[in-house]
C-alpha cells in the first residue's frame, strides 16, 4: 500500500516536472500520437490481406504484435526514462540520495519517472490486443490467460532491462544497452516460429523474448497448456529475483562519484 501511494506520488511529480515545459510536452505528446497512429497504419497494411506466418493465422500473429507493442509502450513510458536515470545518477553521484532513503532503491530507480508519451503507444497496443484477441476468438479463460501472460511478460522485460541497467554501477555510460534490449524485444513482434532456428534459440534462451510475446499469446490461444503459463510466470519471477540480487551485489561496488 505504501509503495502504491509512493508510485502515485512519483508519477504525479514526474508528470508535473515534464508539464513545466508546456510546448515541449505538447510536441512530444503529439509526435508520439502520430508515431503510434503510423504504426497502426503499417499493421493494417501488413495484416489486412491475411497470411500464414510460421503456422500462425494473421489474427493470432496480430496478438503477438499487440503484446510486443504493449512491452514497447512500457519501455517508452516507464522502463527507459527510469533506467536511464541509473546511469545518469551514477555519473553525477546523486544516486546517494536514493540509497539514503528508507525505501527499496530498486523500486525507486524503477518507478520514479513516468513519460506520458508512452500513453498513445499503450492505447494502440491495448487496441491491437483487444482486436486480435476478439478476431482469434478468445473465450473468457483465454482472456484471463492472456492477462496473466502479459503481466508476466512485462515483469520479465522489466527485470531483464533492470539487470542490464544495473551494470551502470561499473560501466557508468552503458544505458544504450537498454535501448538495445528495447529493439530486441521489438523483434518479438512476430511469432518466434517465423525465425530461423539459431535466432529462435537466441530469443528463447539468451534474451528471453520468446517468453515476452510469443509464449503469452500461445498460452492465451491454447496452443500451450496452462502449465506453460506457470512456467512463464516462474521465469519472470526468477529473473525478477535475480535482478534484485544483482542490484544489491552491484551496490557494493558503488563508488559515489564526486565529493
Amino acid at each position: 500500500m505504501r509503495y502504491l501511494k509512493l508510485l502515485a506520488i512519483f508519477w504525479q511529480t514526474s508528470l508535473a516536472a515534464r508539464m513545466e515545459y508546456r510546448t515541449a510536452f505538447l510536441l512530444a505528446f503529439l509526435e508520439a500520437a502520430l508515431e503510434a497512429a503510423g504504426k497502426l497504419f503499417g499493421v493494417y497494411l501488413f495484416y489486412s490481406n491475411g497470411f500464414d506466418l510460421g503456422g500462425w493465422r494473421w489474427q493470432e500473429a496480430l496478438l503477438v504484435l499487440g503484446l510486443a507493442s504493449l512491452l514497447d509502450a512500457f519501455f517508452i513510458g516507464v522502463f527507459n526514462p527510469n533506467l536511464r536515470r541509473i546511469s545518469e545518477m551514477v555519473q553525477d553521484g546523486t544516486l546517494d540520495f536514493v540509497l539514503l532513503k528508507p525505501v527499496s532503491s530498486q523500486f525507486w530507480m524503477s518507478s520514479q519517472q513516468f513519460a506520458a508519451v508512452g500513453l498513445p503507444f499503450l492505447l494502440v497496443s491495448l487496441g491491437l490486443i483487444g482486436y486480435a484477441g476478439g478476431a482469434a476468438g478468445l473465450d473468457a479463460a483465454g482472456w484471463l490467460r492472456l492477462g496473466l501472460g502479459a503481466a508476466a511478460a512485462l515483469l520479465l522485460a522489466y527485470a531483464v532491462a533492470f539487470l542490464f541497467a544495473t551494470t551502470s554501477i561499473w560501466f557508468v555510460k552503458i544505458f544504450n544497452v537498454v535501448y538495445f534490449l528495447n529493439s530486441i524485444v521489438w523483434t518479438g513482434q512476430y511469432p518466434v516460429q517465423a525465425y530461423s532456428r539459431p535466432f529462435r534459440l537466441f530469443m528463447t534462451f539468451v534474451l528471453p523474448v520468446y517468453f515476452m510475446t510469443t509464449a503469452p499469446a500461445e498460452v492465451a490461444l491454447g496452443r500451450l497448456s496452462a502449465g506453460w503459463l506457470l512456467a512463464v510466470i516462474a521465469v519472470s519471477l526468477g529473473v525478477l529475483a535475480l535482478s534484485r540480487a544483482f542490484w544489491r551485489f552491484a551496490l557494493r561496488y558503488y563508488a559515489s562519484a564526486s565529493s
Partner: protein, 328 residues
C-alpha cells in the same frame, strides 16, 4: 554509559583509480589495456562520537573527509575496519538506520529541479511516512527558522544558491534525523546565508538533541558550531580534540605588535621572541604563550612603548600549517 552515535575503528578505504597518459597514444593504450592505481583514501581511522556532539571534520581537498562520511552513511563499503553508527552497520542500510540519519552535500542536491520545494517535500513525507498535518507543521517550523516561507512554491531552478541550500536543509531534515552528516553545507554561500545556515543547524540541534558531523572549508563554520574537531590529512587522522587544543598544540605563539617612541633594532628585541619586523617605530615579534605575560610586562617596563597589542594567529593559518607539515 550512553552508546556512541558513531564508532569507527581502524577504518580504511582503498579505491582503484584508472591512470591515463595524455595524448592519442595514451588514449589508445587506456582504451585497450587499462592500468589502475590503488589509492588509499582513508587509512586506519579510529574515532568515536557521543550523542549530541557537534564535531568538525577538517582536512584539505582529497584528505578523505567525504569518503569517511560516505562510509558512515553506508553509501560505500569500507575496505577494512569496524564501523557502527547508531548501533547499525551502515552499509547494510536498514530502514531503521536510514530513518535516523541524513546527509547534506553542498555540491549535490536532492530537490527536484523543475518543481517547487513543496513537491520534493511531498515525496519525502511519503517516503518517511509523515502524516500530512505533521508534514505541514514541520514545513512551517523549518521554513520559518530558515526564512524561506515565501519561496516554497517556486520551482527550485528559480531559487538563488542560498535559498536552494536552505531548501535542501529543509528537505534533508524533514524526517527529524538524530544524526546529521553535513558535507560543506555552506559551500559557495554569501556571508549572510552562511550565518543563517549555521544558526539553523544550532537551533535544530538544540530542539532535537541531534548529533552533527560537518566538514567545511570555512573555518567560521567550524568555529561557530563545533566543540571538537577531527583533522584528517592524506587519509590519516592527525588530531582529535577541541579547537583550542589544536591551536595550542600547533601554534603555541602569539604575535606582539609594538608602536614605539623611538626606533628599536632587532637585536634589542631578539631575547623576547622571534622578531618578524623591527628597525623603525613599529615592531612585531612572535612570543611563546607561556612567556607572554612576563615578556609583555618587561617590554612595557624597558622600552618607551606607545601602544602594544597581542593577536592570536588566524585559525586558517594554523590549519594550513598542520596540513603543510602533515602532523600535529
Amino acid at each position: 554509559m550512553e552508546a556512541p552515535a558513531v564508532l569507527a575503528e581502524e577504518l580504511s578505504k582503498v579505491f582503484l583509480v584508472a591512470a591515463k597518459e595524455p595524448g592519442l597514444m595514451g588514449t589508445l593504450r587506456h582504451f585497450v589495456r587499462r592500468r589502475y592505481r590503488r589509492i588509499k583514501a582513508v587509512n586506519n581511522v579510529s574515532f568515536e562520537i557521543t550523542p549530541g556532539e557537534i564535531v568538525g571534520f577538517l582536512g584539505p581537498n582529497g584528505a578523505g573527509k567525504t569518503t569517511t562520511l560516505k562510509m558512515l552513511t553506508g553509501l560505500i563499503y569500507p575496505t577494512s575496519g569496524e564501523l557502527e553508527v547508531l548501533g547499525h552497520v551502515p552499509y547494510r542500510r536498514p530502514a531503521a538506520f536510514l530513518k535516523q540519519i541524513t546527509l547534506v552535500m553542498g555540491n549535490k542536491q536532492q530537490l527536484i529541479w523543475d518543481l517547487p520545494v513543496l513537491d520534493s517535500l511531498r515525496i519525502n513525507a511519503a517516503v518517511y511516512e509523515i502524516e500530512p498535518a505533521e508534514a505541514r507543521r514541520r514545513t512551517r517550523e523549518f521554513a520559518e527558522l530558515l526564512e524561506i516561507e515565501d519561496i516554497l512554491t517556486q520551482p527550485v531552478r528559480k531559487l538563488s544558491l542560498g535559498q536552494r541550500m536552505k531548501a535542501e536543509l529543509l528537505a534533508s531534515l524533514f524526517h527529524l534525523p538524530r544524526l546529521l552528516f553535513l558535507d560543506e553545507p555552506t559551500l559557495g554561500l554569501d556571508v549572510n546565508a552562511q550565518i543563517a545556515v549555521r544558526r539553523f543547524l544550532r537551533d535544530y540541534r538544540e530542539r532535537y538533541g541531534a548529533t552533527l558531523l560537518l566538514t567545511s572549508h570555512y573555518m567560521a563554520d567550524i568555529e561557530a558550531l563545533a566543540g571538537r574537531v577531527l583533522v584528517i590529512h592524506r587519509g590519516s587522522l592527525l588530531y582529535d580534540g577541541d579547537l583550542e587544543g589544536l591551536v595550542e598544540r600547533f601554534a603555541p605563539y602569539r604575535e606582539v605588535r609594538l608602536q614605539l617612541e623611538r626606533p628599536l633594532a632587532a637585536a634589542e628585541l631578539a631575547g623576547y621572541g622571534e622578531v618578524e619586523e623591527a628597525g623603525g617605530l613599529r615592531a612585531r615579534l612572535l612570543v611563546e604563550r607561556r612567556r607572554l605575560t612576563a615578556v609583555v610586562a618587561e617590554l612595557l617596563a624597558r622600552f618607551a612603548v606607545r601602544d602594544l597589542s597581542v593577536t592570536e594567529p588566524p585559525l586558517e593559518e594554523v590549519i594550513a600549517r598542520v596540513f603543510s607539515e602533515g602532523r600535529v
